[in-house]
């Protein structure tokens, strides 16, 4: 019965049904420091999963294990498994193809120092799209998806660095969408933005979850409560509590979660 329900949204492989992401017993070390301790978490398709916790609790680190951006960090070692649609991303998967499927938006907007158009077209070109007309279509549809087409359609050839912070961040979202990913990871995407831009990005996330799986790290608990379906609370590298956002915020099972969301620390 439950199995049948899951089949609607999950990914089947043989007889097994997998969520979009299934993380099992994940440990992560920076040198001798253990940053993640035995984390288990399932992230479903078409949901927004929020990760909250005080600074240095491992939530961003966890996010970066999902598209293997931690591989760049020297001295970073990962054990355990991260299954994307049932396939282990650390098990011989081409890391570039993984990152094509799992896009990422960073804390600080990081557009390339080139035009708006070139910023968006960079990803598709990387993955073999050459035709000008096709690129034009991708640029327009990505900017539309990121709700910034109307603002930028007349300045596609202008430098992306001349945009405001909020516009830059939505441009970065459009850039991530341009390679047609399944999952969008957002690492505190609004922490450098003003309230109005923040509102726009939150609205956008709501819109995007219809097509994508979204995992967002945030310092802002109101934000997590507003936009997410599931919430995970990290503390000192451990996933303390994970469940439906309403439950985590209204009736947390763990005392530490309650202390954190009521503002007693962090």
């Amino acid at each position: 019965m439950i199995n049948n329900d899951l089949k609607q949204i999950g990914y089947t492989r043989g007889d097994k049904v997998f969520p979009k992401f299934r993380v099992k017993d994940l440990d992560l070390f920076y040198g001798n420091f253990q940053a993640l301790k035995s984390v288990d978490m399932d992230m479903e398709a078409n949901e927004i999963t929020a990760l909250i916790g005080p600074s240095g609790c491992g939530k961003s680190t966890f996010l970066k294990t999902l598209n293997r951006m931690n591989d760049i960090v020297p001295g970073c070692r990962v054990s355990g498994s991260v299954l994307l649609d049932g396939t282990d991303v650390y098990g011989g998967m081409d890391v570039n193809l993984l990152r094509k499927r799992v896009g990422m938006v960073f804390q600080k907007p990081n557009p390339f120092p080139s035009s708006v158009y070139d910023n968006i077209a960079y990803g598709p070109k990387t993955h073999g799209v050459r035709k000008k007309s096709e690129l034009d279509d991708i640029v327009e549809s990505s900017l539309r998806q990121a709700a910034i087409w109307d603002e930028l359609k007349d300045r596609l050839k202008k430098s992306a660095l001349g945009l405001s912070g909020g516009q830059q961040q939505r441009l970065c979202i459009a850039r991530a969408l341009a390679v047609r990913p399944d999952v969008l990871l957002m690492d505190e995407p609004t922490s450098a933005l003003d309230p109005i831009s923040t509102g726009k990005i939150e609205e956008l996330a709501q819109e995007l979850k219809k097509e994508y799986t979204i995992v967002i790290v945030t310092h802002n608990m109101q934000q997590a409560a507003r936009i997410s379906d599931k919430t995970g609370f990290f503390l000192l590298g451990e996933l303390i509590e994970f469940g439906a956002t309403d439950e985590v915020f209204d009736s947390p099972r763990d005392k530490r979660t309650e202390d954190y969301i009521t503002g007693r620390f962090g």
Binding site: M69, I72, R99, K100, M104, P111, F112, C172, A176
Partner: protein, 311 residues
């Protein structure tokens, strides 16, 4: 109909000394007010005078040299100096001019790809704590500090005596390439380190590989800095005499092949003035040398602005 922005621009262009209502600007104190302020901090005034003086001295020395060269050289800039072949009558500088372009150009063609590639390896492929990197960097720093005459002797023994059996352009080119290699490498390395890591992360996160990230994101962003290094290297070759006298020689003609000997403008100037008979022509050559460097600087500025405008 005027556009809205034009109207706004016109409306808000303030007169130089006061605002639209005729009041003086309060945050732009007059000179007298400024001096009164300095009375309370006399040491600040002394420091201000010193830094202004330093800037003036620097600019004045450059101007002095350029003006002196022009005054001495301009009357001697005769058409005969620019004849294609040199003889003891016309004292033409053209063979030396072409040799300069050949030696500088070829030395850059050899040294720039190697220097840039080495810098890419050091910044993009190794961690900063790597022992090997420390050794390479120290070697480059040492090489950059060696006087050029040492390169000259080295080039003479290796290229002139052992490899090519005689003074030749190719010996000069290879010696110059070795001389500017550490310079190109260091400036490129600095330019690459100045590229924020967030650019690299953004590229990796889109599924771009290392090579694509380097060629499409990192190198273009660093291009103005790399070009600045190439200009410095060009200037060093153009201004070089000691190392070239021992390698490419002092023949006043463009040789038939790279295996022939030929002098550059700087050496031409040196031989003209050291012989003492044609000092006027040496001054004229100096003008051409300065112009060449100015033109190359300007061209590089232009190219690097092109790059910057694109971004």
């Amino acid at each position: 109909m005027r556009s809205a922005t034009a109207v706004i621009k016109q409306k808000f262009t303030p007169p130089p000394s006061c605002d639209l209502k005729g009041r003086p600007f309060v945050n732009k104190p007059s000179l007298r007010k400024k001096l009164a302020e300095y009375k309370r901090h006399p040491f600040s005034l002394v420091m201000l005078a010193l830094v202004i003086l330093s800037a003036l001295i620097t600019a004045a020395i450059v101007l002095w040299i350029v003006i002196h060269v022009i005054i001495q050289g301009a009357p001697n800039l005769k058409a005969s100096l620019f004849e294609l072949e040199y003889d003891s009558e016309n004292l033409s500088l053209m063979p030396a001019f072409f040799n300069t372009l050949i030696i500088a150009g070829m030395a850059l063609i050899i040294a720039v790809p190697i220097g840039v590639a080495a810098a890419v390896f050091l910044t993009e492929y190794t961690s900063s704590t790597n022992k090997f990197v420390a050794v390479v960097r120290m070697a480059a720093e040492t090489l950059a500090g060696i006087p050029s005459i040492v390169y000259g002797i080295f080039g003479m023994i290796l290229f002139v005596e052992m490899l090519f059996k005689g003074f030749s352009l190719i010996a000069g080119i290879l010696t110059m390439a070795i001389m500017i290699l550490p310079l190109v490498m260091r400036t490129t390395e600095e330019a690459l380190r100045a590229v924020p890591d967030t650019f690299r992360e953004g590229s990796f996160a889109l599924g771009a590989g290392k090579l694509r990230t380097i060629f499409r994101v990192v190198l273009p962003s660093a291009m103005p800095g790399i070009i600045a290094g190439v200009i410095l290297a060009f200037g060093r070759v153009v201004g070089e005499t000691a190392a070239l006298i021992y390698t490419s020689g002092t023949v006043k003609a463009v040789p038939d092949s790279l295996l022939g000997s030929g002098e550059t403008l700087a050496i031409h100037m040196y031989t003209l003035s050291s012989e003492g008979l044609h000092v006027n022509e040496a001054w004229a050559t100096a003008i051409v040398l300065i112009l060449l460097v100015l033109v190359i600087n300007g061209a590089a500025e232009f190219v690097s602005n092109k790059f910057r405008k694109k971004y």
